[in-house]
Point group: C2
Chain length 153, copies 2
């Protein structure tokens, strides 16, 4: 897995984030990739507004779609690409789903749960720690979020 | 809100947990109650096996159902009753949903995220802390879980 591969999948996640922004959702997008074949198993953008569902983060929807597609609650050979550092809810779901790796774009000091806040994967009670790589194409993800909130003011 | 009211709603959550056990699911159940009217807005048992969905905890399903029923992602005047201490995923979702109070049955030192592990509501980055009350009808919830895992061995 080299940098250009990572950037390719992050671009797919970014495209989901941009589509979310166009729907008036906070622009976060995610894709789940089969680590062996490179196939995109599931893709999603944030849907909290449209669904009136505070759990409808891009990662949660992508995990649920991928588990449905594979008919298993375990995505052990799969990797998640997401444009923003996962929150504690999503980080815990990522651990439950046994995802192999997490690549994220922008760091989230206020709401993140991987490198900030409860640092879910470092908790002694966390039973599965994926490899995590932050800051992948960070500028693109954070400027998308910045522009979205600027327009809202 | 007195003890017998709490026990009444916890009995409803326990009935969801028992129904989950009969479906072969880890027996955890939840109900969400309108704090003003006493109406049960949503009820759910664990569905992780049936849905092949690692996020399908009783609390998550109940929150999603209640938000759909009320057509809002905020359940500010509502209380959650759940038979087991919520995990970090569910605790974060509870905070996002702005639930007023959380009453839980059994404590969960290995997987809990309220009184154990990351103690989500005590994190400086947690923006909404519900009131929490643990150990409500604890014996009934924990013996249900103990019997379930004993039968599985």
């Amino acid at each position: 897995m080299n940098n250009s591969t990572q950037n390719h999948y992050m671009a797919e996640a970014l495209s989901e984030a941009k589509a979310a922004a166009q729907r008036g959702e906070i622009p976060v997008g995610a894709v789940i990739v089969d680590g062996a074949t490179g196939e995109i198993v599931a893709r999603a953008g944030n849907e909290t507004e449209a669904s009136s569902d505070p759990t409808a983060h891009a990662e949660m929807i992508a995990i649920r779609k991928a588990c449905t597609a594979r008919n298993t609650p375990r995505l052990a050979a799969c990797d998640l690409y997401v444009t923003l550092e996962p929150c504690p809810m999503c980080a815990t779901a990522i651990s439950f789903a046994r995802l192999r790796r997490v690549y994220f774009g922008a760091y989230d000091p206020k709401g993140g749960g991987v490198e900030h806040g409860p640092r879910i994967f470092s908790q002694p009670t966390c039973h599965h720690q994926p490899e995590t790589y932050g800051g992948i194409d960070e500028q693109a993800s954070s400027s998308l979020l910045r522009d979205f909130f600027k327009d809202k003011r």
